[in-house]
């Protein structure tokens, strides 16, 4: 079913919309949640939270792409769940992925950079990256793919993937600094 039609069902408060979303995008949500959290119980709970959040968000939201919207909600809920967990119970790629991002911006308190501005900077950065690096960045930091999975898809060694990601993070760090972000 087309996204537009599904969104209309949400606006009409038609609960069948949730079944449609689960059937159409459930696998995507579970994949992202599993990548990031790596725990079956967390994944299941995260998925249920995603549908609830979606039900509460639409209306008033009217997303153009449900897959991107759901992916975003899944990531947000996953990172919240990750932080809520005790350090010893944490698993999944977020354990490594967040420190990698921390290399880029440090872990200072939130500053005046709002989400839209941060997004614009990251978008501009990615526009300047080659298609290959853009793909690598998104698979790692959007989907939460593991280094091993990326190495397999790229047909190269894990050390190569790690090196490329490290260089890319350094480029992002330099770019953000250039744009006045305190990193």
């Amino acid at each position: 079913m087309e996204d537009k039609r599904i969104v209309e069902m949400f606006w009409a408060r038609d609960e069948r919309a949730l079944s449609v979303v689960r059937g159409q995008y459930g696998k995507l949500c579970r994949t992202i949640a599993h990548n990031l959290l790596g725990n079956a119980e967390d994944v299941e709970e995260c998925e249920n939270d995603v549908y609830l959040a979606l039900w509460n968000a639409i209306p008033p939201a009217r997303p153009r792409s449900l897959s991107a919207y759901l992916g975003r909600i899944t990531r947000n809920l996953a990172v919240n769940r990750f932080h809520a967990r005790g350090a010893q119970k944490r698993g999944g790629e977020l354990v490594e992925l967040l420190p990698e991002l921390c290399e880029v911006v440090g872990d200072t308190v939130e500053d005046a950079f709002d989400g839209a501005h941060t997004l614009s900077l990251v978008t501009a950065f990615l526009q300047d990256e080659t298609a290959e690096y853009r793909w690598l960045f998104l698979r790692r930091y959007w989907y939460g793919d593991s280094i091993a999975a990326l190495a397999e898809q790229s047909r190269c060694g894990e050390s190569t993937v790690k090196m490329r990601l490290a260089r890319q993070r350094e480029r992002l760090r330099a770019y953000l600094q250039e744009e006045g972000v305190s990193v």
Partner: protein, 299 residues
């Protein structure tokens, strides 16, 4: 900014960007570059002519009797060869599309890699080495019917112009086109840009016009960032936010616009309202709401 902010911002990336597939042109085994590096050493010792003599063979040709003879264009040499190292050429120059790679076997491609040094690995030498004609190139890239289409939103050239850069004999044009994407400060639209002109009914055109020279002053990269952030914000996209975002000073503005000697001259008239260049500058940099309204708003 902190880690969580960055993580969440990545989650907000545009869906079309997120769902991109892995680019086909990178699917060749990476050990090709290792072989190329070894070949570069050989070239360094023997020189290109020596290498060809040493190899004792001519480059293989896909079409044994190509009907169109390709012309090599001369592009300034740079350092490095792939997209990571070369700071002179665009990625398009050093990437070989999967459609082109399908025209040759893996063994032929490996031979090609060994024939040139890293800088020599580019689309121009590739088509010349394999004798790929213009027609074959267009068919392999699936560009039939797209030749007049712009290469991308930010690039002032078409697919056809890129083909000309490869097959034409204008070296200067080729050098410009293939170095274009790295010249960020030159990466500005070739004219003034009007933002939000289709939605604004409140302001004069000048309010949403960003002069080409100002964009050049800000730099292509900052311009792109500004567009990404403000471009879709309707009234938010205007000369005031652009100046503030890019940190352009009053003096820089006046100089970029070439107004140093005519600040007292009449710049424009809106109906019965006339103003000077100096007043226009003051409306941008000053704090007089009445002046801003007089110049920028439609009365």
């Amino acid at each position: 900014m902190n880690t969580k902010q960055l993580f969440l911002a990545i989650g907000d990336l545009d869906g079309e960007l997120v769902w991109m597939e892995r680019p086909k042109k990178q699917r060749k085994p990476l050990y090709g570059w290792m072989l190329a590096a070894a070949a570069a050493v050989v070239v360094g010792v023997l020189g290109y002519a020596g290498l060809m003599e040493w190899r004792g063979q001519q480059p293989p040709v896909v079409d044994p009797a190509p009907t169109v003879v390709t012309t090599t264009t001369t592009v300034p040499s740079g350092t490095g060869g792939d997209e990571n190292a070369c700071t002179v050429h665009s990625f398009d120059y050093h990437s070989i599309d999967g459609g082109l790679l399908d025209l040759v076997s893996d063994e032929q491609f490996e031979e090609y890699l060994q024939t040139y040094d890293r800088e020599g690995h580019n689309v121009v030498t590739f088509v010349e080495y394999f004798g790929i004609t213009r027609e074959q190139f267009i068919a392999a890239m699936k560009w039939e019917g797209k030749l007049s289409e712009q290469w991308s939103e930010y690039d002032p050239y078409t697919h056809g112009m890129l083909v000309d850069a490869i097959y034409g004999d204008d070296a200067e044009f080729s050098a410009w086109l293939f170095s274009h994407r790295f010249a960020w400060d030159e990466d500005v639209p070739p004219c003034d840009v009007l933002l939000a002109e289709d939605v604004c009914t409140e302001h004069q055109t000048e309010y949403h016009r960003i002069n080409e020279e100002l964009i050049r002053l800000a730099g292509g990269k900052r311009w792109r960032t500004y567009l990404t952030y403000y471009g879709g914000q309707g009234e938010g996209a205007n000369i005031l936010t652009f100046i503030a975002y890019c940190g352009i000073t009053r003096e820089e503005y006046v100089t970029a616009m070439g107004w140093q000697d005519k600040l007292q001259s009449v710049a424009a008239e809106h109906g019965e309202v006339a103003y000077t260049y100096g007043e226009f500058v003051e409306a941008i940099y000053g704090n007089d709401p009445a002046l801003k309204a007089r110049i920028f708003k439609i009365s």
